[in-house]
């Protein structure tokens, strides 16, 4: 049965990431959408575990995953799953195809200025706005004003998720304004009457959230998948984690960790089993 050995190296996730049992520093990098959330998780965990130090960095899902492949961090945060080439790189470097953890759900809100009379959009209309097939609010029952679309940078998992799931793989049009963070998009939409953007519901304010297909981007609608732009948020490790990294991730999945997720404005996956 020696035949199993080479196979196991790839097929079963052999645990030896963070081999050093003395590790008390955890490095996390990735999704900007998850940045505030991850910082909140890190802060609460460090409060409860005085011997653990956690560094959190944004930069986008792709950037986090690249750092994971390059062994620069312990955990990548991402609002999307690994691409085929990223999984291949992990397999080549580590003999493992990586592990992902579902930690929360997020609904992508469509932000419109609170003075905009257009408060509801269909998925088809949203797609046409961001591919510039619809360029004037008048076409949607609003004022005769040019639509001022704003999107995330291409390094963002939110950018890619929106492109794949809302634009159905089509390209964004060139005239859209690119901003680096969701917070910047929210700020832009609040200050520009003709603007439209998108971002996680953790960042939005009720006054600028449009409904999609008549469904509001609220927790209940995201949890039961009735809100159409709903996604999972993930943590990634290159291999099966151990020590401090494993303990932190396990904690994120406990009721205590999920409570922090709820507090940060995202949707926890599991209610307290007790």
């Amino acid at each position: 049965m020696n035949k199993l050995i080479p196979f196991l190296l790839i097929v079963f996730i052999a645990g030896c990431a963070s081999i050093n049992n003395q590790v008390s520093t955890i490095r996390i990098k990735g999704s900007d959408t998850m940045l505030q959330l991850t910082e909140a998780l890190a802060r609460e965990y460090m409060r409860q575990n005085k011997d653990v130090s956690i560094y959190v960095e944004g930069g986008g899902s792709a950037s986090g995953i690249n750092s994971l492949i390059n062994n620069e961090i312990d955990i990548a945060t991402a609002s999307r799953l690994l691409r085929a080439d990223e999984a291949k790189s992990l397999a080549e470097y580590y003999g493992s195809i990586g592990l992902y953890y579902l930690i929360a759900k997020d609904a992508l809100s469509i932000f419109v200025n609170e003075n905009n009379s257009v408060k509801n959009l269909t998925m088809e209309q949203i797609k046409k706005i961001f591919t510039c097939e619809i360029t004037n609010w008048k076409e949607l029952g609003g004022k005769d004003k040019r639509i001022d679309g704003v999107i995330r940078n291409p390094n963002s998992g939110t950018y890619l998720y929106f492109k794949e799931h809302v634009l159905e793989g089509e390209e964004y049009c060139d005239s859209l304004l690119v901003l680096p963070t969701t917070a910047a998009i929210v700020e832009y939409v609040k200050n520009n009457e003709n603007a439209i953007g998108y971002g996680g519901i953790g960042y939005g304010e009720e006054s600028i959230n449009a409904t999609v297909e008549g469904i509001a981007p609220i927790e209940q609608n995201a949890r039961n998948d009735t809100y159409p732009i709903t996604r999972y948020l993930h943590l990634f490790t290159s291999r099966s984690p151990q020590g401090a990294v494993k303990n932190f991730i396990d904690w994120v999945l406990t009721p205590a960790g999920q409570a922090v997720i709820k507090e940060a404005g995202f949707i926890p996956l599991w209610e307290n089993p007790n």
């Binding site: 049965m1 790839i10 097929v11 953890y101 999945l253």
Partner: protein
């Protein structure tokens, strides 16, 4: 009863007994009634087939937790309870899911829109299947990379960002040193094929069953097997779009290619498999019902009496989940799973009761673990070994129970996985105590798959020696042929159907005999000064050594 699945795919001394108290005997009076009691409760419609993440599953967990408390076990779950809570994710594809095959010129005139279940089945669900843009298909033989056999289906093709199409199974062989002769190796496993595809950068995998020429194969049976919600742990290895393709429609994948599907089957039979690009592309937009929930393993402890040995542990396990409610068969939609595995749970409760009755105190500690999610991919046991209540390096063995003897009293026993470790010595000792001989599983039952088909493989994968003990085919009142016929009848007519219910004819003398053998085996282990070890050539030994070195 996983050992008795006929097909692989559908699925996964000498001196060491010096201090064993061989004079100890369990009292088996009244055991039949106890076994029946547990079976009648767990197998009843009240528990609705004990599906993972269902109300029936939750009720079963509560019942078993109360039974553990009644038996006086110490809780080893979360927050001082018997429940080890496990975050899980479930998904089920909706009919609106859209799979399109088109020619590689993207001409929509020759596109085929395929019907879920009739033409294909999804092996994975959720976001990982999202493939909105048509991707090229590449035929990759069996999808195997096996350097030890100097075999690589990916050697001559580029699959990065493409979808690989592979045949189920592996190269034909009559050579024990080449793909284990006629027995399937782990490379036949669908999950193995998928992970190898991912490691080569593939964006998806389509697997075509080759068993359709087998009289036991039917696509309708495949549909039934995949008619239930797909469930995974909240954490999983990276995955991709994975499709099982109805071979009746496989020609659609090979349109305009250098080989037709019939040609490929000829290559399979002539052992001259080849990989080549196909002239088709595929896109998939899945719609899923998804949910997130918590299910629980039920875990309790009987502490050993020996001051030195009690800090070492034997895990006795059985899965309590079954399929839940599914497609109706003869107006019955509850898959009670009496043989699979209410009876194994009832046996475990009997064993726990015997050990805790007060007369026989084991030297080592015994953990009784009732796992959930076994039917969904060994989820409960995988979570247990990732989150063990006691360190794995102190866990000396796992004795798993998945089905027990119900046809007739027997004269031989089989140790699934015994070939890997010195657990085989304990098996010999137990056999001798019970005037039994040790036999092997006939090849028609795919013995090589038996070890990976239930929760014992989760323990082996983390280095804990494990075993599953079944009766052999030497019966007191049945011939071997009659025994085989009974297993085939079970496999074809009861296994994973609503007919695996309380109407199943159980020979309780055989069941009690099996329970006694398990008790003797566990007692031998628990009282031995020597812990079992992997044999030198076992594929699991290195993980054990790492676990000991790292004290985890």
């Amino acid at each position: 009863m996983k050992i008795f699945k006929i097909t692989l795919f559908f699925l996964a001394i000498n001196n060491i007994f010096g201090l064993v108290q061989t004079n100890l005997q369990f009292n088996h009076e009244g055991k039949t009634e106890e076994l029946k009691k547990h079976l009648n409760i767990l197998g009843s419609d009240l528990f609705e087939g004990r599906g993972t993440g269902t109300e029936g599953g939750r009720l079963a967990a509560e019942y078993l937790s109360e039974e553990f408390a009644e038996l006086g076990l110490s809780p080893l779950g979360s927050n001082g309870t018997f429940h080890q809570y496990i975050p899980m994710h479930g998904s089920y594809p909706k009919d609106e899911s859209e799979l399109i095959l088109c020619n590689d010129d993207n001409n929509s005139n020759n596109a085929n829109s395929l019907k879920l279940f009739e033409e294909y089945i999804l092996l994975t669900g959720g976001d990982q299947t999202f493939t909105p843009t048509p991707l090229p298909l590449v035929f990759c033989g069996y999808g195997i990379i096996a350097p030890e056999f100097d075999y690589n289906d990916y050697q001559s093709v580029d699959v990065e960002g493409k979808i690989v199409v592979v045949l189920e199974g592996e190269p034909n062989s009559t050579d024990n040193n080449y793909f284990e002769a006629e027995l399937p190796t782990i490379y036949s496993n669908a999950e193995a094929k998928k992970r190898l595809a991912i490691s080569r950068g593939a964006a998806g995998i389509i697997i075509i069953p080759t068993l359709f020429y087998d009289p036991l194969f039917s696509w309708e049976q495949v549909i039934k097997n995949y008619s239930f919600e797909s469930v995974s742990l909240a954490y999983s290895a990276t995955s991709i779009l994975s499709i099982l393709f109805n071979p009746k429609y496989a020609d659609l994948l090979f349109v305009n290619s250098s080989y037709s599907f019939d040609d490929v089957i000829d290559l399979h039979h002539s052992n001259s498999m080849s990989s080549f690009p196909l002239k088709r592309k595929l896109s998939f937009k899945g719609e899923f019902l998804q949910r997130d929930f918590v299910a629980s393993n039920i875990i309790g402890l009987i502490e050993g009496k020996d001051d030195q040995l009690k800090d070492s542990y034997i895990v006795v396990s059985a899965h309590y989940d079954h399929l839940g409610i599914g497609p109706a068969v003869e107006a019955d939609s509850i898959y009670n799973g009496v043989m699979d595995n209410a009876i194994g749970v009832a046996a475990l409760l009997e064993i726990a009761s015997s050990f805790n009755a007060g007369k026989i105190k084991p030297k080592r500690s015994i953990i009784f673990a009732l796992f959930t999610g076994e039917e969904k991919g060994l989820l409960g046991s995988r979570y247990y070994v990732d989150h063990p209540p006691v360190p794995l390096y102190k866990t000396i063995a796992n004795v798993n129970i998945d089905g027990i003897a119900v046809f007739d009293k027997f004269k031989s026993i089989v140790g699934i996985g015994a070939e890997f470790s010195t657990l085989s010595d304990f098996l010999k000792q137990t056999a001798a105590q019970n005037d039994l001989v040790i036999s092997e599983i006939p090849n028609i039952f795919m013995s090589s798959e038996a070890f990976i088909s239930s929760d014992q493989i989760s323990f082996a994968n983390v280095g804990v020696p494990s075993i599953l003990i079944y009766e052999g085919l030497d019966y007191e009142n049945l011939t071997k042929e009659e025994g085989i016929a009974q297993f085939i009848d079970y496999n074809n007519n009861y296994y994973h159907t609503p007919k695996d219910d309380l109407s199943f004819d159980i020979n309780y003398e055989a069941a009690i005999q099996h329970v006694k053998i398990l008790q003797d085996f566990i007692l031998n282990l628990a009282n031995s000064c020597e812990a079992p070890e992997w044999y030198e050539n076992s594929p699991f030994i290195n993980e054990r050594l790492r676990s000991i070195a790292e004290k985890r």
